[in-house]
């Protein structure tokens, strides 16, 4: 497991495209200390790694797939109604490079 320190936490936050105040990183670091202890409890359960990871609450599978019939699309004004920077019917961003 990756070591937890403030730099790692800052890097993780930045990769999620946000930042926090220094104090908050301190709070987070403390939270992590407690959390890691709590998560360690999971590791103490005998035979835990013999279990398969579970994504869904129960074994549920389906054979259903949607028929390939298109719906009426949204009117453009509705699709873009909540966007604040619209030019020529498209959402505008600073120029994307790379």
């Amino acid at each position: 497991m990756k070591e937890i320190n403030k730099n790692v936490l800052k890097d993780a936050a930045h990769r999620l495209l946000f930042d926090m105040t220094e104090e908050q990183y301190d709070v987070l670091e403390k939270e992590f200390t407690v959390l890691v202890k709590q998560m360690d409890l999971i590791g103490t359960i005998e035979g835990i790694d013999d279990y398969q990871p579970m994504t869904f609450p129960f074994e549920v599978s389906t054979s259903y797939m949607r028929d390939d019939i298109p719906d009426t699309p949204l009117p453009r004004e509705v699709a873009l109604a909540n966007a604040k920077d619209v030019v020529d019917g498209q959402i505008k961003l600073p120029k994307v490079v790379g």
Binding site: M20, V27, L28, L35, M39, M54, F58, V78
Partner: protein, 486 residues
């Protein structure tokens, strides 16, 4: 006493008998909502409420929701009405579609009154993290106590008799815990029973649409209205919707109920224990067998970390779409990254940022095995253990919390058994997707106490049956914070 103070069942009778009209109920509900000072609402749906209510002329005898006012937790999309998730990052976001649960209620001619506050983006259990500040428990006029969360505003709206029904969502206990703190029936059915389309996702593998009522019968009636297969939600169940009231008024002969000893051991409050014991007497008097069963204590202690790991991981991904570009407040920047960065830094509160970092950390390549995947393994073990118990028992029955609603200033020792187990066990109902209902069983210092009935997957009717037996004995039906209790 007003007709608005009644249960759905009784309110429906009054509407059918034309003793009251939907418009009268709607107007009064709006007034009460606006007069409420528990910080329970994000927005009032005056226009919709009044126009819908005014259009309802002839009562539908067989439709219990006709003309009934209801409240919607503000993480359900409502068409043409702002839906914020109680977060600044979704300020002024107006969806162009209704969540399916909302649409079904509107189809049943129920009347939407308001959008209620929640812990920001549903990520909390205290009701204090919404962008408008803490939501208060209407049972405590001093405003010292929380109502829990994340469905805090919806709980207030029903507990304060503003409406008899409110939509909520439950990922770890977000309907069932506040229900216990607020003297309500809080229902979380089986995973997939109610469509999640339009519910802002927290952790899809744990999320459930849930709701609050003031009686078990109301809860049983409500389920059929909003349950059902939805082609917009691939995870919604194809099982037919049942008559969930069909086992009400049936005694509990042949029913076996399990109480988990190791969880009870972590609960020490004598009032809680006494009320709980009394409710067990009720179960036995109705004919049920109630046994103590064993559940590995160490495994119980992993419920909370398993929940935190899985939910934070999923939620980090679910909220990656919040960047101010398609919706929400738009920020400047020299690059698209800066635009997103500035929006997310300003828009998310510190608490949920921390949760996102935790989730992201658990999913990192170097950590996934020991953190995220291991939590998923632990989930399976916990679910297997629960389902084993439910092979021979129809339900698990436990207090919904170890105490009455805590005061805001009280803190938790986060590593104590009480915190890990007593306060967070309800989450295993989300791990296993089992139907789970909280109902009131007593009071302390005028504050409600709750207990929780959890049954087998898709056996909601039996859960209601068991719960009603308790309700019949306690008489705690249609409790309201408007009435002061000692």
């Amino acid at each position: 006493m007003s007709y608005l103070d009644l249960t759905i069942t009784d309110m429906h009778e009054a509407l059918v008998a034309k003793k009251v009209t939907p418009l009268e109920l709607a107007k009064e509900a709006l007034e009460r909502a606006k007069a409420n000072n528990d910080n329970a609402f994000e927005g009032y749906m005056d226009e919709q409420a009044l126009s819908i209510a005014a259009s309802l002329k002839e009562p539908e005898v067989n439709n219990p929701f006709w003309g009934i006012p209801f409240v919607i937790k503000d993480n359900f999309a409502t068409r043409n009405f702002p839906t914020t998730g109680s977060s600044n990052i979704l300020k002024d976001y107006v969806p162009c579609f209704d969540a399916t649960a909302v649409a079904k209620l509107l189809q049943a001619h129920a009347v939407p009154i308001a959008k209620s506050t929640l812990d920001e983006l549903a990520m909390g259990g205290s009701g204090i993290t919404g962008h408008k500040g803490p939501t208060f428990n209407p049972y405590d006029s001093k405003h010292e106590r929380m109502i829990g969360g994340s469905s805090c505003g919806s709980a207030v709206s029903v507990a304060a008799s503003i409406v008899p029904f409110a939509l909520g969502s439950d990922t770890g206990d977000s309907v069932r815990k506040p229900a216990g703190y607020a003297g309500l029936v809080g229902m979380k059915p089986t995973w997939g029973r109610i469509s999640r389309y339009g519910l802002f996702p927290f952790a899809p593998s744990l999320d459930h649409v849930g709701y609050f009522t003031r009686s078990v019968e109301d809860a049983a009636l409500s389920l059929a209205v909003i349950a059902g297969r939805d082609l917009e939600d691939s995870t919604s169940s194809t099982r037919p919707v049942e008559d969930y009231t069909r086992l009400l008024k049936t005694d509990l002969k042949g029913i076996r109920v399990a109480v988990i000893k190791e969880i009870m051991d972590t609960i020490t409050n004598p009032t809680v224990l006494k009320a709980f014991d009394q409710s067990i007497v009720a179960l036995r008097e109705a004919g049920a067998v109630v046994d103590n069963v064993h559940f590995d204590k160490r495994l119980l202690g992993t419920i909370y970390p398993t929940y935190i790991t899985i939910s934070c991981s999923e939620v980090t991904s679910n909220n990656a779409n919040l960047d101010g570009i398609k919706f929400g407040p738009r920020f400047e920047g020299n690059t698209y990254q800066e635009v997103m960065f500035n929006a997310r830094t300003a828009g998310f509160s510190e608490l949920i940022k921390r949760r996102f970092v935790i989730g992201s950390f658990a999913l990192m390549r170097e950590n996934q095995d020991v953190l995220f995947l291991r939590a998923q393994k632990c989930r399976r073990k916990i679910v297997d253990t629960l389902n084993d118990i439910l092979k021979t028992y129809d339900a698990v029955y436990l207090p919904s919390a170890p105490t009455i609603a805590p005061k805001f200033k009280d803190s938790h020792d986060q590593l104590s058994d009480e915190y890990l187990i007593a306060d967070n066990h309800l989450a295993f109902g989300n791990f296993a997707g089992l139907p789970s209902l909280t109902l009131p069983i007593g009071f302390e210092k005028g504050m409600p106490l709750g207990a929780n009935v959890m049954g087998r997957a898709f056996e909601e009717a039996k859960v209601f049956q068991i719960a009603q037996a308790i309700e019949n004995k306690t008489g705690y039906r249609n409790l309201s914070a408007k009435e002061v209790r000692v």
